[in-house]
């Protein structure tokens, strides 16, 4: 159960990256978080583990995991959770691995840090994890350096590193964005398999609607630091309950079965150092009214399990 805001206080400006976002995650659930660059999805997820440096970041709110508030617990506690009970798969594997260290050194780190295993035991676990992601000859390859791997292999290694401690939650931050399309599919398959096997909850961040529809149970749509809509994946793709989501879906070729003209959304995302009052999307929304400009909409339930932050949608004024 999470409700938080993240603000960055910089010398020349203050950026409200995430504004009072709330959501929850069930065990074994795959939650997708969709949004354009700058929507705050990455900052939100990193804030869960208190990753952004504070200062300049300010985290407010609550993030409850197993009864512990991740935002206010002690440093030692959050460190024991990171990599252990909640793990992160980062976007660009070639940048996310330390180029100076062998893969094995980096993969055993979580094990040696969070358990009392010996180096040899940790290495065995690491090799095993690597094997499960489908890397051939894992025992030998693990001794190589990151630059000797291709992007796809590295991402598998990243997955292995996240899974090695068998966490409860995995945050996957655009795991396929830096990869070729063919490799993307492979990675997704691996992830699905592993997660199903181990009953892990996943928060899947992406800007790619096509992928998220396939992979996730539920989807949050973020924009300008707020969640605009939450719905089960199939329902969202079939009939979106927010003008922004509609436009997004419309801009992806082939996501629905009907051929359609690709929509574009006029304008640019708002400047988060000075967000407009009211609904963040209103400057670009075809359906905006005066009320939209004034009041900041909250998520309202319009159907079991479906929430939208569009006042007009909620009131049934638009379909």
């Amino acid at each position: 159960m999470i409700n938080l805001s993240t603000t960055f206080r910089l010398p020349l400006s203050t950026i409200q990256a995430v504004r009072s976002v709330s959501f929850s995650l069930d065990k074994g659930e795959a939650l997708g978080v969709v949004g354009e660059s700058g929507s705050g999805k990455t900052v939100l997820m990193h804030s869960l583990l208190r990753l952004p440096a504070q200062p300049p970041a300010e985290l407010r709110g609550q993030a409850l995991y197993n009864g512990i508030d991740l935002l206010t617990c002690s440093d030692a506690q959050i460190r024991s959770i990171r990599g252990n009970r909640i793990a992160v798969i980062f976007q660009d594997p070639s940048a996310a691995f330390n180029p100076y260290l062998r893969l094995v050194d980096q993969l055993v780190e979580p094990v040696m840090l969070h358990t009392t295993a010996t180096r040899r035991e940790a290495e065995e676990k690491a090799v095993q994890a690597l094997n499960e992601t489908g890397i051939p000859d894992a025992a030998k390859r693990i001794r190589a350096y990151p630059h000797q791997f291709s992007g796809g292999m590295l991402q598998r290694a990243m997955i292995a590193m996240a899974l090695v401690m068998e966490p409860d939650i995995i945050i996957a931050d655009e795991p396929t964005t830096a990869l070729d399309v063919t490799v993307q599919a492979q990675i997704l398959t691996i992830m699905k398999r592993l997660i199903a096997d181990k009953q892990i909850s996943v928060i899947f961040i992406t800007h790619n609607l096509g992928i998220v529809g396939e992979f996730c149970n539920r989807i949050n749509v973020m924009y300008a630091g707020r969640i605009l809509e939450t719905a089960p994946a199939t329902a969202l793709v079939a009939s979106a309950a927010h003008p922004y989501t509609r436009a997004l879906i419309g801009s992806v070729p082939g996501i629905t079965d009907r051929p359609h003209r690709l929509t574009t959304i006029p304008g640019v995302p708002p400047d988060l150092s000075d967000p407009p009052a009211g609904c963040p999307f209103h400057p670009r929304c075809l359906f905006a009214t005066d009320k939209c400009m004034r009041d900041l909409p909250e998520l309202t339930e319009i159907a079991p399990g479906r929430f939208t932050a569009c006042i007009r949608m909620a009131a049934g004024e638009i379909t």
Partner: protein, 290 residues
Amino acid sequence: MSRTTVATVHTSPLRESVRRFLHNRAAVTSGVFLLIIIIASVAAPLIAPYSYAEQVLSLGASFSSVQHPLGTDLLGRDLLTRLLYGGRISFAVGLCATFVSVVIGVCWGAIAGWAGGKTDAVMMRIVDILYAFPFTIFVIILMVFLGRSLLLLFAAIGTVEWLTMARIVRGQVRTLRHSEYVEAAVGLGLSRFTIIVRHILPNIAGPIIIYATLTVPSVMLLEAFLSFLGLGVQPPASSWGILIREGAESMEGYPWLLVYPGVLFSATLFSLNFIGDGLRDAIDPRAGKR
């Protein structure tokens, strides 16, 4: 109902840079200080209380007093005056030599970066070889053997510092060479010279200015170093380097002769460096220290 799209106010990069620079207190303070010193030095003949050659032997070396705010040296010459005149020489050397090295470096780097291929490889190879060259030694040899003229001093110091500038310029030119607007200019048939001067140089002006500003203190240091060894400017003209040497020699009895010039010189270098850093942060905030 207005539907303005909220966006950041667009200012030119130049204005942004100036704004950032002015925010940097250290840089601005340094700038003011430096300006004062430079003006004072340039105006030395007008404002110096005494002639720099005037000796009042009876006084000998004396500490600060009302008539001589910074004291006098062994020959009774007023230290303040000598420092002011010394500043002229030191700054002159600093600026001229920097200018020389900038010109050489920019030309070399621009040609290498533009030509690419073999010419580039050869030119940069030369730079690489020269990098291993102990320039300090070279300059010392030059000064010893070819005389002590001021002109030679400029040239000698200038040749020491041009290497890094050449590297920087070449790197930038190479990158810009393949940028689209340059290719468009080539396509339009503009002469290479025009392209380089009108399109590329303004864009690399930033790093050039920054590096030039940071070269000036190096150059002044080199000049002072040479003067300290007796190889630079010759008496009766004085540069700060000479004054420091004299101070070091007579330091046992008359420490102020060392302290005043030393402090002034160091403060000037400080200021130049702060300004250079400030410029760098202003023009390219991602580079240098954060």
